[in-house]
Symmetry: C3
Subunit: 498 residues, 3 copies
Amino acid sequence: MEMGFLFMSGAYGDPKGFQIEKMVMKKAGWKLSEDRYFDPDPAQRRIAHKIYGLIAGCLIISPHGHVDPRLFSEERASFGTPVDLLIIPDHYVLSMLYSMGIPLESMGVQPLDGGKFETDHRKIWKTFAANYYLFLATPTRIWLDYVFYKVFEVDKKLSADTAEYVYDHIQAKLDSPEFQPRQLFTRFNIEVLCTTDAAYDALPYHKAIRMLDWKGDIRPTFRPDSVVNLLEPAWMENIKMLSNVTDIDIVSFTTYLLALEKQRSYFKTLGATATDLSAFSAFTTELGRDELERIFQNALHREVNGQDTALFTGRMLIEFARMSVEDGLVMQLHSGAYRNHNELVYKCFGPDKGGDIPMQANFTQNLHPLLNKFGNDPRLTLVLFSLDESTYTRELAPLAGHYSSIKLGPPWWFYDSLNGMNRYFNLMMETAGLYNTAGFNDDARTFPSIPARHDLWRRATSNFLAGLVVKHVIDESDAYEMALDMAYRQAKRVYRLD
Amino acid sequence: MEMGFLFMSGAYGDPKGFQIEKMVMKKAGWKLSEDRYFDPDPAQRRIAHKIYGLIAGCLIISPHGHVDPRLFSEERASFGTPVDLLIIPDHYVLSMLYSMGIPLESMGVQPLDGGKFETDHRKIWKTFAANYYLFLATPTRIWLDYVFYKVFEVDKKLSADTAEYVYDHIQAKLDSPEFQPRQLFTRFNIEVLCTTDAAYDALPYHKAIRMLDWKGDIRPTFRPDSVVNLLEPAWMENIKMLSNVTDIDIVSFTTYLLALEKQRSYFKTLGATATDLSAFSAFTTELGRDELERIFQNALHREVNGQDTALFTGRMLIEFARMSVEDGLVMQLHSGAYRNHNELVYKCFGPDKGGDIPMQANFTQNLHPLLNKFGNDPRLTLVLFSLDESTYTRELAPLAGHYSSIKLGPPWWFYDSLNGMNRYFNLMMETAGLYNTAGFNDDARTFPSIPARHDLWRRATSNFLAGLVVKHVIDESDAYEMALDMAYRQAKRVYRLD
Amino acid sequence: MEMGFLFMSGAYGDPKGFQIEKMVMKKAGWKLSEDRYFDPDPAQRRIAHKIYGLIAGCLIISPHGHVDPRLFSEERASFGTPVDLLIIPDHYVLSMLYSMGIPLESMGVQPLDGGKFETDHRKIWKTFAANYYLFLATPTRIWLDYVFYKVFEVDKKLSADTAEYVYDHIQAKLDSPEFQPRQLFTRFNIEVLCTTDAAYDALPYHKAIRMLDWKGDIRPTFRPDSVVNLLEPAWMENIKMLSNVTDIDIVSFTTYLLALEKQRSYFKTLGATATDLSAFSAFTTELGRDELERIFQNALHREVNGQDTALFTGRMLIEFARMSVEDGLVMQLHSGAYRNHNELVYKCFGPDKGGDIPMQANFTQNLHPLLNKFGNDPRLTLVLFSLDESTYTRELAPLAGHYSSIKLGPPWWFYDSLNGMNRYFNLMMETAGLYNTAGFNDDARTFPSIPARHDLWRRATSNFLAGLVVKHVIDESDAYEMALDMAYRQAKRVYRLD
C-alpha cells in the first residue's frame, strides 16, 4: 500500500477547497506536542496543563506488570536490539501486523517446531517501519512514539524512509551505559515495580536484587494460574515444581492448599503485597469438599474436563479470597479472555501472540458466592479487571460502590488507551467514586513502555479532571487532590504499598 | 485519609510548572456556578444558557418517585434533622460510605435485630462531612450541593471544617415554617407529584390530602410488586391486606385478578394515572390458565420456587398490560436489579441499603409475548426503564422507535446522573426520537432532592440540545420546542397528566 | 400535538432570561450549514473543513445497498412521486411514524390481504410533513434534509405549512430528464454501485445494463438468505428457482452446494466481487455430513424446526467461507436482528416495515469454528456487521485486530448515524486500526439517499480525524491519508473493486 503523500487525481473526484501546500509534511524536527491528548477547548486545556504540571513528575507506582526481574538482578543485563526490546515481546505490535497479513516468522517470532524465522533485526525493523501507519490512532503508536521521542530522543518520525536512521539511533542508545535497566529504572522515576511470578517460582532474581547495593524496589506478585487451571497442559509439572519449592508433597487438595499458602508466605518475605489470577470468567462457587477432592485427584491423574476445571477455578477463587483475608495479600482478578482463540497461531508460536479475544462477562451473579462469604470483610481487597466494558456501569461500578472489599482495576489490555481511559472515567466514577478505583497499572511487557503508559494515564487524568472543572462538576482545588490520587496515591493505598 | 491540601514533597517527584498559589482554596463565598454542567465551548454554552433560561422555571412534573404522602397530609409534618432528611433514607449516600468501610450503624441506620446504632445526628453529620470528598464527581454530590446551596442557602462548602456550621444552618431552616413540606411543595414549583404505593394500600394520606384546603396535586401510583413476587416473605400477609382493602376473598387466581382490578379502580379515583412494577427481568410469557392456577394455589400454601415465581411474574406482566388497555393506567416496568445481592446487609438492615446490583438485561425476546398481544394497541402505554445501558441502542430505542405502545423512561438509578443523561440522549434519540421518550422522572426518595434532580436534567437537556444546534443537527428554534418537551410537556403527555 | 411556536404561559413557570425575539424562526432562505456535524471548537472545525474539502468530492464507492438495478436498465425508468421515492420504501420513516400511532395504510403501504390503503400521495406527504418534527435529531432527518436541499434544491424547511410547496417542487424535479436514474448516477459521482440480489436471480437487469451504451458500473451481490434459511416460507420455491437458473436438479446437499457455486460463478461474470448473508446470529458449527444431509432432506420435505435451521445456517457459514476462499468473493455477514418481531405488522404488510429488533450478539465463541478453519487463510475476506454495539470493543475490534481475514463493516442500520459513526470510530479504531475496517457502505434503499449517507460519513470522518489532530493523536498529514482511506480507498480495497 502506497502511503506516501497522495496527489489529487481524478480518482478522488474534485477536492475543492483543499489547499495543497498545507499538506507538506514537516519531516524535520519531529516532536511530540506538549498539548497532546488534551481536549482543544482553551479553558479546559489550560486547566489540564496545570493539573498535568502537578502530576507529570510524580514517582511511578507500578503494582502490576510483566517486566522480567532478571533485567535488574544481573549487572550487565541488556535489552538487545530495538527488535528484541520493542517488537518481539509486544503482542499488540505482533497482532496488528498479523491482522494485515504479515507472518509472525517475518517479525522474528520463533516457531515452536523449530521452523525458519527472520533473524535479521534490521530487516524486521524495516518491515515494521513500513507498516507503522497501521498503528495510526492506536495506543501502541502513542506508547512507541513516547518511547522513541522521550526515552530514546529520536528526532524523526518513524516511516519506511527513516527506518534505518531510527534503528541505528536506538541501538546506539541501547549500547550505552545509561540505557542499562537499572539506570533506566532510576531515570524513569519508579518508586516501586511489581512483577508477575508463577506460584512455583523460587524467585531467584528477586532474592538477588535484595542482595544488591541498589535501592530499586522490585516486588514479586503471586500468580497461581498455572497450578489452578486444570486444563493447562503443564499442570502436573507445575504441581511438581510447587511441591519442590515448598517441600510439601502435594497428594491431596489439603496439601495443595498448604503449598499455596506456604508459597504466598514466601512471596511476602520478598516484598509481595498482592496476588493475581487470570481466569476464564469471574465464576465462583461453593463446592463441597468431597467433590473438590474428587476433581483434584482426577486432575492428579490428568483426568480433567471443562466443567470440572470451571468448578475448580470457581472454588479456588473463594479459597484465594480466604487466604487474602488471612495473609493480607491484595487479590487481583483478571477475567474474560478466550485465550488462544486462534488455535493455529497458538500451535505454531505458543501463547500471548495476540490470539486472545474477550467474551461477555458477568460479575453480578458470578461473584455472588465469593462476596457473600468475604465481600464484607474489611481485611479483603479484591481488585477487578474486565474486558467487557458493558459491565462497567452495569456491574462493576455498582459492586465497587457498595462492597467494601472491591476496588476497580484500571482499564485493561484493549482498553489501556486514551479512549479506553476516557470511557472508564466517565462510566465508572459517578457510581463507584474515585476512591473505589485502584489508580493505574501499566501492565507493561516492555520496560521502556512503563513511563509511556503512565504518561498517557496522567494526561488522560488531567484532561478528564479539567473537563469536570470547566463544567463545574468539581472545584479546581478538588481536581488537584484527585489528580494526585489518580496518578500516585490511590495505587499505593489499594496495593498496600504504603 | 488526609484530604487537606497536600504540599509538594519528594514523594510526588518534581511538580514542575505547578503554580502553588493557584491552588489556594477559596473558602469564602462558596456558590454553585451558573455555568455548571454546560460544555465549555463558548458557542455551545451561550445557546445552552438560552435554552436553560426557557426551561429552568418550568413547573415540575414528577410522575414517579418515593416521597411519603404523609408529609403533606399532616399539618405539622416535619423533616426532622438534616440526617433524618438527607442521610438515613438515601441509599446512594449509605452505599458509598459503606463501600469505604463505614458501618451503616454509625450512620444512624437501625439494625433489624435491635442492635446498637448511632443516634447522635450531629456526630453522624460530622462523619458524613469528613467523607464528603468520597462523593466528588458523583450525582449524589451534585444533588446535595444543590440542596445545600439552593434549598437551604448554605454559603460554605461542606467539609470536616464546616460540618457543624452547615448542620446548624440546615437545622435552623428545617425548624422554620417556610420549610414545612407543603411550603416547599409550593416553592419547588411542583405541578403534580406522584407517589409509589403498595397495591394493598388504602391510601389514607392521599384521601386526607384531597380533603385539605390545599391545591397541591399529589397522586398515588399502583405498585403491585409485593403481591406479585411470590418469593416475597410477606406475600401471604400482603394478599390478606389486598383481600381486606378490596373486600374480595382472594382464594384463586380469578379472585386475585378481580382484587387487583378493583384496587386499580380505587387508585384512579384518587388521581392515579399509572402503575409500576419492579421485576427481576422483563421476561413475559403466555402461561396456560391451569398452570397459572396451580402456581397460585401453591403460593397460597407458600409452596414457591424460583421458576414458578419467574413464570408467574412473566404471566402477570401480560395481565397488567391487559388491565392497562382496559382501564387506561400507564404501565411502568422497572427491571434488571439483583435485589439484596449483599445478603449480610439485607439480613442486618433490610432492603434498599445499596446492596442491589444490576444484571444483563434482555427486552427483545423477553417482551415478545407481551408485545405481540398488546404492543400494537393504541390504548397501551408501556414505559420501560433499564439498568443495562447496552440495551439502549440494541433493544430499547429500536423497540420504542417501532411499537406505538412503548415509551422510554429516563435514565434510572445509577444512570440518573450527568453522564448517564448524556449517554441516554446520545444513545436513544437518534433511533427512538424524542417523542418516544417519557421526559423526566426524579425517582426521589428525599423531597428536597426533587428540584435538584430536575435542575440537573434541565441543564443536561439544555447542553445536549445546544450541542445539536452548534453542530447544526437541529435548528435553534427546534431546540426550544424540544427543550420544553423534555423538561415539561412530554412527561405530562406520556403519563396522561394533561 | 401542537408544535407551532409556544408562547410562554403560566404553565411553563417563569422563563426568566429568555429572549423571545431570538426564537423567531427564519422561514426564508432555509439552507444546510456548511459547518454541519462538526464539533464547535474553532481549531477542530478549521481542520475538519480542510479534511472535508479533500474528501467531499471523492467518487462514491457503494459496495453494499438495496437499490433496484431495474432503475438503470430501463431507458425511461422513473422514481414516481415523492412518496414513492422517499416514504413507502423507507422502513426508517415508516417505523417512526408507526411508533407514534400513524397507521401504515395511511402512509401508502399496501396490506397483503388487499385491504384499503391511502393512494393520494399528496395527502400522505402532508401527513408526513406535519409529523416531520418526530424525526428531529435522527439520521432519517439528516438524510432527508440533504436530499431536499442538495438533490432537489428545496429552499424551504419541510413542515405542515410548506408540505405542498415541497411536494410540488420535488415532483417537478422528478418529472425532469435530469432526474432520471442514470442522470443522477452520474451527478452523484458514483464510481461503482453494488446491488443485493437473491441467489436464484438470473440478473436480467444487470445483464441489460452491461449491454447499454452507458458507463455506469453496477454490480450484483450474491445473497443466498432465501435458500439458506430453512424457516423461510418460500424456501422450497426458492430452491426450485435456484435449480432452474442453474440447470442443476437440487435433490441433495451436494447438488445444493453445486448450484450455489455455479450461481456464484455466474454473478462473478456480471461483476460481483462479494456475497452477503443475513443470519439470526454469527453462530457457526462443524456439522457432520450425514447430519447435514438429514436436515437437508427433511427440509426438502418441509420438515424443519428452529434447531435444525440454526445448525444448518451455522454450517453453511463455514461452507460459504470455503467457497470464498476458492472463488475470491468477499464474504459479508449481517447478523443479530430478530426479524419480524412485530408479528401483526409482518402478517399485514410483510417484511422490512420496521418490526426488526436487534438482540445480544456473540462473535467470539460463535465464529470460532469458522475462524479456526479459514480465519488465517489469506484468500478470505470476511466483513462483519453488528447490531450489538457492546461487541465493538469486546469482540469485533479484537477479532479484526488479530485475524487477517476479518474486516469490520461500517456502523449498520440503527447505527448508520452521526452518533453511531462517532461511537464506531472511537470504539473500533484503537484496537482494530483503520486498516482493518471496510470503509463505508451506504446500505441505501432509496437511491437519492446515497450521496446523503456518504456525505454524513465523510463529515463524521473529517470531524473525527480533526479531533485526533487537535488532540495530537495523529499528525495533520496523516489525517489526510486516513480521510482518503475512510472515504474512498478502503472500501475499494476491501471489496476488491480495484
